[in-house]
C-alpha cells in the first residue's frame, strides 16, 4: 500500500451474521463487491451482506483475499527490475495457494460456490484445479461413488463402449 493513501475498510457480513472487516482493496478482488461499491453501496457501517455464504466459508475467502492483495501490493512496491525476487515471490504465493486449498471435498465445494458467487476468478480457478487433481488417477466407478453419479448407460451403450474401448470394462485374465 502506497504511503498517504487513505485506508478504507469494508465489512462483509455472512449469511449467519458474522462480520469480517478487510481492506477495501482486498475485497475488490471480488467482482460482486466491486459492483456493489461501484453503485455507491456497501461502504456504510452495515457492510455488504453476503447471502448464502456462512461465516466459516467467508472467513477462508477473506484470508485468500488478504493474502493475494498483500502479495500484489508487495509486487507493485518493488517495481525494480528484480526478476529473481519476482519469480521467488510468485512461487511462494503458489505454494501458499496449494496449502490453502488442500481441503476436504465438502469444504472445497463450499469455497468454490462462494468464490463463484463473489466473482473471485483466481479462487475459482484454484478450486477447480484442486477438484481436477482429486479426480486424477481414479476409475470411472470410483468417481461415480465419490460424486454420487448414477451409472445411466443402457446395455447397448455399454456394449458400444466395450467395443470402442474394451480396456474400460473387460479384463485380460
Amino acid at each position: 500500500m502506497a504511503a498517504g493513501k487513505p485506508v478504507v475498510m469494508v465489512t462483509l457480513v455472512s449469511s449467519d451474521g458474522q462480520s469480517f472487516q478487510l481492506l477495501e482493496e482486498a475485497a475488490l478482488l471480488s467482482a460482486m463487491v466491486r459492483d456493489t461499491i461501484q453503485i455507491g453501496q456497501g461502504r456504510g457501517p452495515a457492510g455488504i451482506p453476503i447471502r448464502n455464504i456462512t461465516g466459516q466459508t467467508l472467513s477462508m475467502v477473506v484470508v485468500y483475499c488478504n493474502k493475494h492483495y498483500t502479495a500484489a501490493a508487495a509486487a507493485d512496491g518493488d517495481d525494480a527490475a528484480d526478476e529473481e525476487k519476482k519469480v521467488a515471490n510468485k512461487k511462494q504465493l503458489r505454494e501458499w495457494d496449494e496449502q490453502f486449498i488442500n481441503l476436504e471435498q465438502d469444504k472445497l465445494y463450499d469455497i468454490l460456490v462462494a468464490a463463484n458467487n463473489l466473482g473471485i476468478d483466481g479462487l475459482v480457478d484454484l478450486c477447480c484445479w484442486r477438484f481436477a487433481d482429486m479426480m486424477k488417477g481414479k476409475s470411472a466407478s470410483e468417481i461415480r461413488v465419490k460424486l454420487g453419479i448414477r451409472d445411466d448407460f443402457t446395455s447397448e451403450q455399454r456394449a458400444q463402449i466395450e467395443k470402442d474401448s474394451p480396456w474400460v470394462w473387460s479384463r485380460t485374465t
Partner: protein, 141 residues
C-alpha cells in the same frame, strides 16, 4: 492466474459460471444424469464439465468417459477437446501438440498407452503412460 484468456472479465455475481463453450443443449437433456453431489449440495454439470474436467490431465479424461452418459457426451465432443487443449496450453505455456495413443505392447495380450509430443517439424518421441495390466487394476469395473 493461469488462464487469463478465459477468465479475464469478471464473473457477475448474479450469473452462474460463464461458459467458454457455446451454450448448446448437447451436454444437458436428454442425456442428463443425476447431478454430481459434493457433500450436501450439487455442482451444476456445466461447471463440473467445463471448469473442472477441462483441468484433468488428458490420460485421466479418457477413463472418465465411462462415468455416465452426460460425461461421455461431453468428453467426446469436439468442443470439450478444444476447451481442454486450450486450458492445458494456457496452464503449462506449452503449445506443442500432445497425442495419446493405444498400441499393442511387445508381449501377448498386453497393450499400453503412449503419449507423444509433436514438435513443429513433426518429430517426437513417445513415452509410455500406462500398460494395460496397470490400467485394469486402476479401472476395476
Amino acid at each position: 492466474m493461469a488462464d487469463q484468456s478465459e477468465t479475464s472479465s469478471p464473473w457477475s455475481c448474479k450469473r452462474p459460471l460463464r461458459s467458454s463453450m457455446a451454450d448448446q443443449s448437447e451436454t444437458s437433456s436428454p442425456l442428463s444424469c443425476k447431478r454430481p453431489r459434493y457433500g450436501n449440495a450439487t455442482l451444476p454439470d456445466k461447471l463440473v464439465i467445463e471448469h473442472i474436467l477441462t483441468r484433468v490431465p488428458p490420460a485421466a479424461v479418457v477413463g472418465l468417459r465411462a462415468v455416465c452418459r452426460t460425461w461421455r457426451a461431453a468428453l467426446t465432443s469436439d468442443r470439450f477437446v478444444r476447451a481442454h487443449r486450450d486450458r492445458r496450453r494456457a496452464a503449462t505455456g506449452d503449445s506443442q501438440t500432445e497425442i495419446i495413443f493405444f498400441a499393442p505392447a511387445a508381449m501377448g495380450n498386453a497393450a499400453a498407452f503412449y503419449a507423444c509430443k509433436l514438435a513443429p517439424d513433426g518429430s517426437g518421441v513417445a513415452r509410455e503412460l500406462v500398460s494395460v495390466h496397470n490400467l485394469m487394476e486402476l479401472i476395476n469395473v
